[in-house]
Symmetry: C2
């Protein structure tokens, strides 16, 4: 695909504002080089980030910081370097992968957990997502003697003050915007796409990156406890579909 | 039945401490003379209260106060007086009767109502029995947009801090004690009881009075949300059975 047409696809899924380089590089390595022996060479990384619209100088600074923060290591190879995840960086990526790449909702049921207001507060999140003092939503029933655990009926909508605590307006709005971006990319690819491997990799990374920034902020609760505007499930379906059509190349 | 045996029955159902005369007289008129044209003559009232173990002087003082408070009126009849409920007193009695004489539990289901902690508190009891801030138990589902209404499963016991708010320990303990008294009276009557009409009326009044002081303090919620010690349902069954065996005489 020529650069002009490809750049339209990049803008469709990326949006106007370029992503933060540091964070995007974590997506790059998590998506394309999470295996133990996986590496990305400097020149390949350069091609990829250039296609996404990142400045080489910004990429160099971010790589330096990611090494300093313990995410990446590099190894000299002739005149360039290979970059790869540290053990710690790989562990972080692996922990997030089931949430990012999961093809189905993380939970189908939810319970309301009510705790004793006369007792000192436990650590935040101990019982689930707090929606009010002593009220928590959880994807698991909790059968302690001191808490009241009530199953939620998926057909009964929760009041707005409660769903707003499950997912804040910024993340809900981001899911609406991202669904629009995914839909635009989906349309752009439908008109016949002849993508090079680096082009495919760049689009993959932008899809995963956009989704990661939404899904990792959402709790593992079923969609029926989210605000009605929440587009997480539709985004997840389209992400799954697009990533299937944009496979990772065997060699970058 | 002779006075000694009858007095044993009175003590069994009444307990050691004599009831408050003012309150007991309200039970007398509510149970025996609630109809519009019902009256109780001074001498009949004297016989009844004497059998219960009340002092004539205390009865005179209480009658005076009940007239002053608007519960009763009296009308001269030759050398004595007839006493009867005022319209207001009758309305009070009628309002309480379904709760006192109901043969079945006031409610079979219960809902947890959760209200918005960000909103100012509504009037107490607007949503049901408060068990914690913004948490209410109700025998009716409430489908307002701003409240979350969750059905309770009768098979799932509620935690102690919650049931303690439904019914305080004093009322729960009173139900345990009263069940003992009812059982003792039941046994006493089983050995063959040849009661006069005033004796029957006296026992009725004591049963209704003891039960009234418990059931009117308990919320109209099903037994499964009460503390496990609560004996309300067993008391209700025995009260119903005993009142059936001790009918109001057509003439006092």
């Amino acid at each position: 695909m020529n650069d002009v047409r490809f750049n339209d696809l990049v803008m469709a899924i990326r949006g106007e504002q370029a992503p933060r380089v540091w964070s995007l590089l974590i997506t790059v390595f998590g998506d394309l080089a999470q295996d133990e022996d996986a590496r990305i060479s400097g020149p390949v990384l350069g091609q990829l980030t250039e296609r996404i619209g990142l400045k080489p100088e910004a990429v160099r600074v971010a790589l330096h910081r990611l090494r300093k923060d313990g995410w990446l290591t590099s190894q000299r190879q002739g005149r360039s370097s290979d970059y790869f995840l540290t053990d710690w960086g790989r562990a972080q990526s692996r922990a997030a992968s089931p949430v990012i790449y999961g093809k189905t909702a993380p939970a189908r049921q939810a319970w309301m957990i009510l705790t004793d207001p006369g007792k000192p507060m436990e650590e935040p999140g101990a019982h689930g997502v707090p929606v009010a003092p002593n009220m928590f939503l959880s994807s698991r029933p909790q059968t302690t003697a001191s808490a009241c655990c009530l199953a939620l009926d998926p057909a009964m909508p929760l009041p707005g003050w409660m769903t707003a605590k499950v997912c804040d307006a910024r993340t809900t709005d981001a899911s609406v915007a991202f669904l629009g971006q995914l839909t635009a990319l989906d349309k752009g690819l439908d008109t016949g796409a002849d993508l090079s491997d680096p082009q495919t990799a760049a689009l993959r990374v932008l899809i995963v990156h956009g989704w990661r920034r939404i899904v990792l902020k959402a709790p593992d609760l079923p969609a029926f406890v989210f605000p009605p505007e929440w587009q997480g499930p539709a985004c997840r379906d389209l992400v799954t579909n697009l990533l299937h059509r944009l496979p990772v190349a065997s060699r970058l």
